[in-house]
């Protein structure tokens, strides 16, 4: 049970924050390209999901899973996107991502007048608290399977 990495994108597609805890394999492309790929893919998936949905859509795209990992997605009403890759045993990290937004992002970035919204997140306090929060999650294990 573990968390692999976390991305935070703003509403224009700029990557505000990325951290990883347990990533065994890199993507093989530069970080900038990886962020662009991630954002572009999510944009397409969300649009696809809403078009092809046979019923009225409520939340939209929430997660996808492969045989090795699961990707969770949460978008705030203000357009901020949180993406977390975990292993397969995590059922639904939506609540966790929502907590990251409401307790960490709002408290340490929005309320910090020295962090302008839209810039990459530089507050050390935010990074430290995020790290502690992730490490305290019940499904986090520093040594991945």
């Amino acid at each position: 049970m573990t968390v692999h990495n976390l991305y935070i994108f703003d509403r224009n597609g700029a990557c505000l924050h990325y951290s990883e805890w347990n990533r065994k394999k890199q993507a093989g492309i530069s970080k900038q390209e990886e962020f662009k790929l991630m954002y572009g893919m999510l944009f397409s998936i969300r649009s696809f999901v809403s078009k092809m949905s046979p019923l009225d859509m409520r939340e939209g795209f929430q997660c996808f899973q492969t045989s090795r990992y699961k990707l969770h997605f949460y978008e705030t009403p203000t357009g901020l996107k949180f993406i977390m890759n975990t292993d397969l045993s995590v059922p639904n990290a939506r609540e966790t991502l929502h907590q990251i937004y409401s307790t960490l992002y709002v408290d340490y970035i929005v309320k910090n007048p020295l962090c302008s919204l839209g810039d990459p997140l530089q507050s050390d306090l935010f990074s430290a608290r995020l790290d502690t929060f992730i490490k305290n999650l019940p499904y986090f294990n520093p040594r991945a399977a």
Partner: protein, 158 residues
């Protein structure tokens, strides 16, 4: 009192505004701090009138300082001053280990050079409060590591 977040956002914007409208380079730093402190002074005067409506007269200087540390700070920041020191000759040091307006900024050395801006208004608040209670003073603040900070009050003997 209104929600904490409301005041915090307003306070941050106030500081941004003062700095933007006085933007003549680094040399104007002192002027901006003075403006913020003067604003705090006027607000402090008004606040202290409200808070001391029902309280009896203060016995002496130390009593006034204790009131500032306990009741005044509680009404403003929902906590008390953590430590009050004095040399009994008019100098008081108020220490707050987790100052509300700084706790979201950082937990150590990051952004340290911006910290004084966020303390100027509160220095004015304290000075205004003391002035309406009959004590002329000079209040300064220093930050060694956020979010702890110290306010130094020097009572002036007229």
């Amino acid at each position: 009192m209104a929600d904490e977040a409301l005041f915090q956002f307003l306070h941050s914007e106030l500081i941004q505004y003062i700095y933007k409208s006085g933007a003549n380079g680094e040399t104007e730093n002192g002027k901006n701090i003075t403006k913020l402190e003067a604003m705090g002074f006027r607000v402090g005067q008004g606040l202290i009138e409200r808070f001391t409506k029902e309280t009896p007269r203060f016995k002496d200087e130390l009593d006034v300082m204790k009131f500032i540390c306990k009741d005044f700070w509680t009404c403003l920041f929902k906590k008390q001053i953590d430590n009050l020191r004095t040399n009994h000759q008019g100098i008081y040091v108020l220490q707050d280990n987790s100052f509300r307006l700084l706790s979201q900024l950082s937990a150590g050395k990051q952004y340290l050079e911006h910290a004084p801006k966020y303390l100027a208004f509160t220095c004015g608040l304290v000075r205004g409060g003391l002035s309406d209670l009959g004590l002329k003073s000079v209040v300064t603040a220093e930050v060694a590591g956020m979010p702890a900070c110290k306010f130094q009050v020097m009572i002036q003997k007229v």
